[in-house]
Amino acid sequence: MEKIKEILNKFEMEYVEDYKPTWVKAKLKNKEDLLEVVKALKEAGIASCSTVSPTDYPEEDRMEINYFLEDIINKKNVWLKVDIERALDKCEIDSITPELPSADYHELESYSTFGVKFKGHPNLRYFLISADYYGKFPFRKDFDWEEHEKQLIENVNAISEEFFEEYEENEETMGHEGSRTVLHWGPTHPASGPIRLKVYVNGENIEKVEPDIGYVWRALEKLAERKDFIGTIVAVERICFMDNTNPMICYAQAVEEIAGKEITPFAKYMRVILGELGRTVSHLISLGGFFGTMGLQTFLMWCLDVREYFLDVLEDYSGARIATACIEPGGVRYPLNDYKAWFGELNKAIEKWESVKSDIEDIFLKNPLMTVRAKETGIFNEEDVIENYLAGPIARASNVKVDVRKDEPYAAYGELEMDYVTCDSGDTRDRLYIIYKEINQSIDLIQQAMKKIEEGIEAGEMDPKKDHMIKMPRRMPEGEAVSRVEWARGEMLMHLVTMPKSTNPYRLKLKAPSVNHTRMLEKLLPNHTLSDIPLLYGSMHICQGDLDR
């Protein structure tokens, strides 16, 4: 930490201060220094960029850009801020993509939504947004949404024209080399989900891949600014329906940090249980979906069968199965009036999982044809993980020990016994195995947390009927917070900015791991055949919901 501060202090800084145990927060005076700072930090091991988040201050005529840079091996992170001018023609800054490739898509996103031009970016283009937003930059505070909606018909035409133009491209001529076919893999492809991969193929062999995203872009970050602090949770939880609870934990932590409140131990353990339930529910789909990409639906059906039991538990608690909205700033939303009955349901679900485990291992995880297809294909090593900031299960499958639950313990994870779950080789099969191992870890954590809650209640330290919430202020003070959780697909980071006495967030940046994982497809897929696209794509466990937000 001291070393990083030393490096930062060599440059002109407005301030350099500690923030949480693993972060250093600093603000750069001159934007010209940025590249030099990033280079120096990269030499010190901070080689991954988590995200780039601009905040727009029209009154002060400035745009503040936040860089979240991480050293995922040694768990030392830097939150770097820099001010630039706001006017569209002057709103530009050096791109850090040549130094940290993981910033690539995040810079494109900032350019498309805020109009920040990144000088020296290898391929600066509009991204994520549809044709009707080109040149308008929807996340700026002065963007006129009503005017935009009035031009609805025109906008629809702009989108469809762009769409048709792009889809008419079937072939790329290459002079004397002949030509290669352009396949549009998505967005209505059976295995793609709402994303389009432009695949350049020579026969069955893939030569180049270009992801085109934004088909389910809902502007959640902007939507959060229009809702109050409680209402924002329904925007946040819709990042991806599969793991629904963890984004809410992340958001609630950021709000609690700004309000300066500490939640009760009971609520902390409840967050562990709910968070791990969300992870299990999501992983069960990932597990089955992996085989679905190879045309085998049996495993998916079996996983959905088990998943029903876990959804029943969520339904018992919150009344909803998928979009639960059960965690809010201040704790968890509902008391446990009959905790024994709920734990009984939970144990039933766990028993169901234990009862199918041996069948799953024998029939599917040791399946010879799956091994033939998935073993030793699409290998990621540690450098790939750091350079492109692959997160969560994908990183752990390559034997990189990274897990926010352990690196920066939140909720009650610090008091539970857990270890990094890893696999060795980092190939496609390991990205299946890691998911299976993580479900077992989640079950173990749930059992530990249940035990702690039971002990707490028996000792009279916890009251499940009252302890679930603390009182939160209706209006928040001015502040800024960064909160991280281990989501089912990797690190989720939220950057929340509030104004004095505000009732709604001023800016909420949602960072989800699928962005980097999708970017990785450009490097992963070439030199494989067409049959490998669904398998490798499925092994990245990408969810378009958190890709587009």
Partner: protein, 323 residues
Amino acid sequence: MNVWEMLFYIFVFPGLLFLLAWTFFVFYFARKTLAYLHKRVGPHYNGPAGTLQTIWDIFKLLTKESITPKSADPYLFNIIPIITPLVAALPVILIPWTPLINHGHAILDTDYGILGLVVLIGVEPFLLFLTGFGSNNKYSFLGGMRILAQMISMEAPFFLAALSPALLFGTMNLYDIMYSNTWLTTLILLPGAIIFIITMLGILEQPPFNIPDAEQEIVYGFYTEYAGTNYTLLKFAEFTEILVISAAAVTLFFGGYRGIFFDSFWWLFLKIALLALVMVAIRASNPRLRLDQMLKFTWSWLTPLAILNLVWITFAKIYILGV
């Protein structure tokens, strides 16, 4: 053979009506068994245990509009779905179905039965390739290419395996082969039968060799552009082919309609249903192979094994049967 007899063969058994009934049955059977293995219920509401569901589905498909894409070749696109079921149904006359018809012989009782069967089955993939070619769609065309690659590599071991009973019994007449088969020869023919069944999965595009119509990769390949009646006809051709090749397998290796205590069509049917059950079980537990892996498997394992099998048959014929 008089006219009425002929019309009965064409329209009732083993012709159109029988093939339709088989299509309904195997569709329902595959759905229900697969659902059981998936831990689902499967068709449930229409008819007793959902038996009417398949029939309604097929009639629903028939009432749908048949769409011909703008860029497709309209003649090729629409003629192939008519030719394909006809070609698929032709081998039916070469197989002895029941003791009640033609004194237990096939309708066309010929000494070149296996040859006819193999040729008629081998024509089918080229028609399916033309469906992909005529669709003028990138995914369909890829599906057409894949089907050619798969058929060329699968047919070599398929024919070699089909030859093994002919070599053992010294005849290509299916009726004679069926009646020469004993428990001992069934055991001798078992390696050939296994190779035949594996290649059968490839030729019928069943998992793990459903590469030409891979949904997740090339969007059902050559089926992509077909809808309504045309799609129904292609599916009908597919199920007819399943029936014909399974019946061929049973006749060649497992004694056709001959059974314990009595000979009947139902023995043949039972054996075919068991084969279908094996196919469904493989489908429910194995993912799809990649095209290059399939090619490697057929040419470096299956074809050499099929040739070795012929050596084994010759050996067994001389030293075990002592002919």
